[in-house]
Symmetry: C2
Subunit: 159 residues, 2 copies
DNA sequence: GCACTTATTATGAGTCCTTCACAATAAGGC
DNA sequence: GCCTTATTGTGAAGGACTCATAATAAGTGC
């Protein structure tokens, strides 16, 4: 167990710099997200309640969305899954999710700091000024590959 | 109004090839998605009901998810939005959403057929076998840029 | 340190999107 | 045309998240 108070102070000053009050709820949520990256609100609630049992789910939702707006947290929504949160922000990394078990891995940007930031628009579309390019990789993690020694590797979606 | 029956037959044979029965509900949903790309289930229901008023929302959900599994439709979920559907499948294109108005544009793949398909894993992650790489661009479309001649271009999220 | 103001949190209910269980219907093979 | 069974319709339920309001407590000034 490393020096928690150092983290606490870092979070506190970050909150201050955004004009937010430093509450134990926010610190608990931040710590929970830090120690459980890629967790949904429910998981963050469970983790934070170990330190702060009276914390409510609604507070977690409020805190998470506020801190996400402040860019102190990053939120992403894999298909068929509730939103996941992480403290790793500002480094333009991406995510890979296992379509079998749902496990999530971070993927560093392969193309520098702004991957694929120059879309080639198709004919009929009105271009946009792109600010973010999120890449979501989907595949099968090694664990799941080992478990299901697939008989056929082609799609077996014939119902 | 082009030749609808041609489309109908194409959908019908596609359904057959997947072992599905050809029903007016499925055809209505497929036509609705084709004519309203990037529509949510509710919008597809509304569009399909113009041809088939007795169609129910639940049927639309069932049909959409089944056809998505069959890869006859493609589904994607922008942040803070219900799932959107389109008939353009198998061409590995991506999407750009306007963070202001929610408008969605197709973006052709900038890097050939498999963009960014070779993630650089960070140190601690177990690599996965990547099958899909979805890119979600977020920005501001021209219309919204024109409407809000932003006074400050930095973030005004100080509440 | 002690009020006081107001941001935050807790409480409770409500919304939206989607799915489930089961009965009614109809597509397609015979 | 009939029969089997996939599909659809009906009605209700579930999960994830948000909203309105009251209670609480951070941070400010005295």
């Amino acid at each position: 167990m490393a020096d928690h108070s150092a983290d606490q102070e870092a979070w506190a000053s970050a909150l201050h710099s955004h004009g937010r009050r430093v509450t134990k709820q926010r610190l608990a949520v931040l710590a929970a997200v830090q120690h459980n990256p890629h967790s949904p609100a429910e998981g963050i609630l469970a983790a934070a309640r170990k330190d702060l049992p009276e914390l409510t789910a609604q507070s977690v939702y409020v805190v998470l969305s506020d801190l996400t707006d402040l860019q102190m947290l990053r939120r992403f929504e894999p298909p068929h899954s509730p939103a996941l949160y992480e403290t790793r922000v500002g480094d333009n990394h991406h995510h890979a999710v296992c379509i079998s078990c749902g496990r999530v891995e971070d993927v560093d940007c392969a193309v520098g700091h702004a991957p694929c930031l120059t879309p080639h628009w198709d004919e009929h579309s009105k271009p946009m000024t792109i600010q973010i390019a999120d890449v979501l990789y989907q595949g099968i993690c090694q664990d799941c590959q080992a478990k299901q020694q697939l008989p056929t590797q082609t799609q077996v979606t014939t119902k």
